[in-house]
Amino acid sequence: MNRLETQLPGLNLKNPVMPASGCFGFGREFGGLYNLNDLGAIMIKATTVEPRFGNPTPRVAETAAGMLNAIGLQNPGIDGVMNNELPWLEQFDVPIIANVAGSTEEDYVEVAKRISTAANVQALELNISCPNVKTGGIAFGTIPEVAKSLTKKVKEVSVVPVYVKLSPNVTNIVEMAKAVEDGGADGLTMINTLLGMRLDLKTAKPILANKTGGLSGPAIKPVAIRMIHDVSQQVNIPIIGMGGIESAEDVIEFFYAGASAIAVGTANFVDPFVCPKIIKDLPELLDQLGFDHISECTGRSWN
C-alpha cells in the first residue's frame, strides 16, 4: 500500500505534496536539483493570455518568519507556456496543475480553455486572489458573486477539473468558498498571500517597488489553518492547503484542519530540497502518530 497516494478530482497523486504556484517557476530549476518524479504534482507559475514582465524590482522583502512578494504575474503568456514550458514538463510522470490568471473574465476563459488541453495539465487552479496586480484581480477574489460567475465560465470551457484559489484578505472566507463551490469548482486551494507592506527605515518608503506585496511563509500558517478548518466543514469539495508549510509536521496539521493535499511555497526558497524531504519524512511521522494512510488525517480537528 502506498500510504501517501491521494485521489482528488482529476488528480491521481503519488503523494499529496506539491510545490505552490509561483514558488517553483515551471520546474526547470528544481529539475536540476532532484528528480521531479518524486513530487505529487506541480503547480506551475500563473499564466496569463499575454506575456507579462510583472512589477519593477525590488520584488521581495523579508518580514518576521515570512516574506513579501510583488512579482506581478511575470510569465511568458499562454503561447510561451504551451510551447516551451509544458512540453518540457511532459518528460516527468507528474500531474501539472496550471495556475490561471487574468484581468478580465475573458482572459481567464481564454487561458483556461487552451491550457486545459495540454497533455499533462490535469487540473486548473484559478488564481482569483493575486494581490499584486492593479486591475481586475481583487474583485474576483473578494466578491462572492463575481467569483462564482468566473468559476462557472471557466468550468464551461475547461476540459479538466477546476480548483479555485482563495484569498485570505476577506471578511468571510466561508462565504467565498461556498460561492465558488456553487459556481461548480471541483476543489479549493487556500490560502494565497495576505496583503502586507514593509517600509525602509532610511528612505521611509516601501521596500517593494509595488509598495504592497503578498505575505507568505510560516508567519501566515495560523491564518491558513483557521480558514481551512472553517471552510472544510462547510463545503463538499476537497482542499489543497498551503501557507507556511515547511515540514512533515506542518503537513499533518493542514490535514487535521481539513486539507486533502498540500502545497509548499516560500519554504522552497529557504531549502530548495524541502519538498522531497517532506515526502521522505511523512511515512515515519504517520507511524509515530499511528495512521496507516495520510488521508485518515483529513479533518480530524473537527470530526
Binding site: 514558488c23 506575456p51 518576521a64 512578494n69 530548495p272
Partner: protein, 258 residues
C-alpha cells in the same frame, strides 16, 4: 551542480571596518568553477532571518576544500553571520549563477578589474585565475574611506593596484572611473554599486569587452521565484528579461538595463 552543505568555519575575522572575511570548509568547492559566482547563505536556522543572503565567492582553494566570503556587516543577517565562530557551521547553497568569462581575455592581454566596496571580493578569485592563465591584470578598487579598504596587498601581488576613496583618505580621491581613464586594457571586469556600473558602462560604451556583475534582492537565488529580474537592453520596456541569480550576476555591458 548546486548543492546544500553545512560548511564548517575555518576562520572569521574583521579585515576592515565592518568588513569580515569568512573562510569555510566544504566539499562544494569542487563545483566552484567560475569566478564571480555566489553562494546563498542561511545565517541562522529558524526565522530570524528567514531568507538566505547572497554573497560572492571571493576565493576558492580546491585542495583544502576551502572558500572565502568577504562581506560587510550591514543589516540583521550579516550581523548574525559576523558573530559566528570557528567550529560552528554555516548553511550554504551553491555555487550559484554565472561568473566572469575569463575566456574573453587571452594570455598576454590586459584586463582591468574594477570593484567598488563589497563588489571587490569576487574580483580576487577572478584576478587569481586570470593571472594563472597569463593575463596581465590591473585593479582599480574604490572604497568609501581608508578604514573600509581591504585586500589591497593581496591584489597588489597579482598586478598593479589603484585604490580610490571617496574622501581621499587613502589612494586617489575620487571615483574608479577617474583612474580607469589613465589606463589601457583589453577587457573590463567590474563589480560594485549600480551607480559605478552605470558609469563604467557609459564611459566605455564602445568598448567591446566590458562585463558587469549586478546586485538585486533575491528570493530563491536559483531562478524559480522571479524576484531578481531585469529588462534586457534591446527591449527595455517589453517582456524579455534576465534573472540576476541564474543568467547573471555577471552580464556583458549593454545586455541588460542597469
Amino acid at each position: 551542480m548546486i548543492v546544500n552543505e553545512h560548511c564548517s568555519i575555518v576562520s572569521q575575522r574583521e579585515i576592515a571596518e565592518n568588513i569580515y572575511e569568512l573562510i569555510l570548509h566544504g566539499e562544494l568547492t569542487s563545483k566552484m568553477n567560475e569566478p564571480g559566482q555566489f553562494v546563498h547563505v542561511k545565517v541562522a536556522s529558524g526565522y530570524a532571518p528567514l531568507l538566505r543572503r547572497p554573497l560572492s565567492i571571493a576565493h576558492v582553494n580546491k585542495e583544502n576544500q576551502e572558500f572565502t566570503l568577504i562581506y560587510r556587516k550591514d543589516g540583521r543577517g550579516t550581523a548574525i553571520l559576523s558573530s559566528k565562530k570557528t567550529s560552528e557551521t554555516v548553511d550554504i547553497l551553491g555555487p550559484l549563477g554565472h561568473g566572469f568569462p575569463i575566456e574573453e581575455t587571452k594570455a598576454g592581454e590586459t584586463a582591468v578589474l574594477v570593484g567598488g566596496g563589497i563588489g571587490v571580493p569576487p574580483l580576487y578569485e577572478l584576478s587569481k585565475q586570470l593571472v594563472k592563465k597569463g593575463v596581465n591584470v590591473k585593479h582599480v578598487l574604490g572604497f568609501q574611506n581608508h578604514a573600509a579598504v581591504f585586500y589591497e596587498d593581496k591584489f597588489k601581488s597579482f598586478g598593479s593596484t589603484y585604490v580610490t576613496t571617496v574622501d581621499g583618505s587613502h589612494g586617489t580621491k575620487g571615483f574608479v572611473t577617474d583612474v580607469m581613464n589613465e589606463l589601457s586594457f583589453d577587457t573590463i571586469y567590474s563589480c560594485g554599486p549600480t551607480a559605478m556600473l552605470k558609469a563604467v558602462e557609459a564611459g566605455y560604451a564602445t568598448h567591446k569587452k566590458v562585463y558587469v556583475s549586478l546586485e538585486e534582492r533575491m528570493g530563491c537565488g536559483i531562478g524559480a521565484c522571479f524576484a531578481c529580474v531585469c529588462h534586457t537592453a534591446d527591449d527595455p520596456f517589453g517582456f524579455s528579461y534576465k534573472k540576476v541569480c541564474t543568467d547573471g550576476p555577471v552580464f556583458k555591458a549593454g545586455e541588460v538595463v542597469l
